[in-house]
């Protein structure tokens, strides 16, 4: 969701920072769940790493025979970011969260922290990112954890083949955040059969327990806007006009940290509006997934069947249509019918159940290679789900008192914990 950052920063409320006199010794300052999710970590609380020349992008040709539609002419393979050491070191594969590319800020922060601690790193885009759907997904229909993990595993093998000659690797680890976190668990399980990497340590950061339940919770946030999700255009325009007015009357220098900080201290947006903006950001990200999947499969879902879009054609109306579709529309009208055809007799409930870590809980319970980091106010988890994680992972689960969904990922203490997990 890298490109959505400006939209994300368009939403904030909250109490002034000085009042965050925390009653615990955890230094991440933002108490609210939504606010933390949107604002992330203040720059002064992120660790600083020296710039390095040992980071570059690698492009993987996963399906050499695949025909790429003209509208995706720029897709020349799966883009991953690779950080390498000159000496022998463990290699960590990282998986991005929903919709994110290999250049997502959260992913790059994890990569830099690990690189500086002496690891090789390969950062992979999410299987729900269009680059992955076009270049590396076998079905081009993302969302099924088993299939997505198989796609990820294949891509990791190709990546490893591509860099194996350049680096000296002592062992392999795996990590991911959000959707990438739950995918990491499924990839690790697949690795137990395939044994290409023999992952030693697997870290899940802010993972959902059930993908369907977590997305339901995000969709519900959009229901809080006036008129509901079908009126998101009106909502979007109103929020932006509010944002612009605020700048106009505030005597700011530029749209920078100072400006964002004051949006947050002045409580420009209400709690419901903030929730709505998070939900809308999710929809905008989901739209990219729906559109690219539809183009790749020629299913006639949002683009007329058999229409060949060129690189010059306007696709703005598809953007508007796709953003107005919910995850449930995608699930019921597109995703489930595909799997139903593929696995006759499959019920919706069975499909939903398979998209949960409960479906592999026996494995997760028995294996000591796993670690989980989450926050007690992460809105993608219910209280019961958090308790479930605690019961499943016990001491392998680290719960921070705040941070929302991924808000504290770049906080120095969190990154240090992550590095320590892989170093132990």
């Amino acid at each position: 969701m890298m490109h959505l950052k400006p939209l994300l920063i368009a939403c904030f409320i909250l109490l002034p920072l000085p009042s965050f006199a925390a009653d615990d010794d955890y230094g991440y300052p933002i108490p609210g769940s939504y606010e933390a999710t949107i604002l992330g970590t203040p720059s002064s609380l992120k660790p600083e790493f020296p710039a390095t020349k040992h980071i570059r992008q690698i492009v993987l040709n996963v399906f050499p025979d695949r025909e790429i539609p003209p509208v995706f002419f720029y897709e020349e393979g799966l883009r991953c970011t690779f950080a390498y050491q000159k000496q022998r070191a463990p290699l960590v594969f990282l998986i991005a969260g929903a919709g994110a590319s290999d250049r997502a800020p959260n992913l790059l922060a994890m990569m830099k922290a690990l690189y500086n601690a002496g690891f090789h790193v390969i950062a992979m885009p999410s299987p729900s990112n269009a680059n992955f759907i076009v270049s590396a997904s076998e079905s081009s229909i993302p969302g099924d954890l088993t299939e997505d993990s198989a796609d990820l595993y294949r891509a990791m093998e190709v990546a490893w083949k591509q860099v194996a000659g350049e680096i000296d690797v002592s062992s392999f680890h795996l990590g991911g955040y959000s959707l990438g976190g739950i995918q990491a668990a499924f990839v690790a399980k697949l690795d137990e059969e395939r044994r290409v990497f023999n992952f030693q340590k697997v870290l899940m950061i802010n993972p959902p327990v059930s993908l369907y339940n977590s997305v339901t919770r995000i969709e519900e946030m959009l229901k809080q806007i006036p008129g509901g999700p079908k009126k998101q255009g009106i909502f979007f325009n109103r929020m932006f006009s509010k944002f612009s007015q605020f700048y106009r009357y505030g005597n700011f220098v530029a749209i920078n940290d100072d400006f964002l900080y004051s949006i947050y201290t002045e409580r420009l947006f209400s709690q419901a509006e903030t929730a709505g903006l998070i939900g809308l950001t999710f929809r905008i990200s989901l739209a990219g997934m729906i559109f690219s999947s539809d183009v790749m499969t020629n299913s006639g879902y949002v683009v007329p069947k058999n229409r060949v879009l060129s690189s010059r054609d306007s696709i703005f109306d598809y953007f508007l249509v796709s953003t107005h579709l919910s995850f449930f529309d995608y699930f019921n009208e597109y995703f489930y019918p595909y799997f139903q055809k593929k696995r006759p007799g499959l019920t919706k409930k069975a499909l939903i159940d398979s998209m949960s870590i409960r479906s592999i809980e026996g494995y997760l319970k028995s294996s000591d290679k796993f670690g989980v980091m989450t926050n007690s106010n992460d809105f993608i988890l219910t209280r019961e789900e958090l308790d479930y994680l605690l019961q499943l992972f016990g001491e392998r689960l680290k719960i921070y008192p705040r941070g929302g969904h991924l808000g504290n990922l770049e906080y120095k203490e969190n990154l240090a914990y992550m590095v320590d997990f892989f170093s132990r």
């Binding site: 400006p6 590319s101 079908k230 325009n237 220098v253 060949v308």
Partner: protein
């Protein structure tokens, strides 16, 4: 362009097998081949003569399950873009220009130049940019801002050794980025249609005009001051300075075309560029 290209349908493996059988079983006779060629020739002629009109019929398009007509909502994140076809082509051109020329040069520069030196070079050019900031602050009659910008320029040029270091920021003098496009906006000029410029990227009709004026002013100042006027190689030196300036500008800009992987990236870039310019030019925005 007109070939019916069905990327992969839901049951891709099955349909592929069927096609394979067909090809093996059907022996194409010479007559059939001629017929086929005639049909292809016909289709080709039709395409060339009436591409857009006949397109729907030839391809056998089936309407999509969801279309824009079913949603009763305001359009959003939209920007006036009557030249979208041209702009998308330019966006594409810039992607290739970056890929095959600009970025390889920038990468070469980053490879041979120590990071410390890169930062000093960026500082040097950013300091020169203060001249543009200053002229435009003055044109907007912003007194305090002009004083601050002048202070920055003087401080960084002297204490900061020609702008290589930035002590002014630590003295509390904030950078105010200004250009003639913003000046025009400040005085009420509309941004005009969105425009993607070759190499330079996202802009608008107004900002393109502004860019020309800024370049003219900068050139005028260089010529008047003539720092290398006596060396006899002023043109070459000037061109060299300009070349490094462009490389440094691209080096400082982390944006990469199509890198987000988001299929609607063009629209996101368009919207955020437009909004940022509108907001920062200080023009009053009508409330909804």
């Amino acid at each position: 362009m007109m070939t019916v290209s069905r990327y992969r349908a839901f049951q891709a493996p099955i349909s592929r097998d069927r096609c394979g059988d067909k090809i093996i079983s059907c022996k194409i006779t010479r007559n059939k081949l001629y017929n086929l060629l005639t049909i292809y020739a016909l289709i080709l002629t039709m395409c060339l003569t009436g591409c857009a009109v006949t397109r729907v019929d030839i391809q056998g398009e089936v309407p999509a399950r969801h279309s824009i007509s079913e949603f009763k909502d305001q359009r959003f994140a939209e920007v006036d873009d009557p030249w979208e076809g041209f702009n998308r082509s330019m966006y594409r051109f810039n992607f290739y220009f970056d890929k095959y020329l600009f970025l390889p040069v920038v990468n070469g520069y980053e490879f041979i130049t120590p990071i410390f030196l890169q930062e000093r070079i960026s500082g040097f050019y950013n300091n020169l940019g203060e001249i543009r900031n200053l002229t435009n602050s003055l044109l907007q009659l912003k007194g305090a801002e002009s004083v601050s910008t002048l202070g920055r320029f003087v401080t960084n040029s002297t204490v900061g050794i020609g702008g290589m270091f930035d002590p002014a920021t630590s003295f509390g003098m904030k950078q105010h980025n200004q250009d003639f496009g913003k000046t025009l906006g400040y005085w009420g000029a509309d941004s005009g249609p969105y425009l993607v410029l070759p190499i330079l990227g996202p802009s608008s009709l107004r900002d393109t005009g502004g860019l020309a004026v800024d370049s003219g002013i900068t050139y005028g100042i260089y010529t008047a001051v003539g720092p290398f006027g006596n060396s006899g190689n002023s043109f070459l030196i000037g061109a060299g300075i300009k070349a490094v300036e462009n490389i440094d500008a691209r080096h400082q800009q982390s944006f990469r075309y199509y890198e987000s992987g988001y299929p609607f990236e063009y629209y996101m870039v368009r919207f955020f560029y437009h909004e940022k310019r509108e907001i920062e030019s200080g023009k009053r925005i009508p409330s909804n």
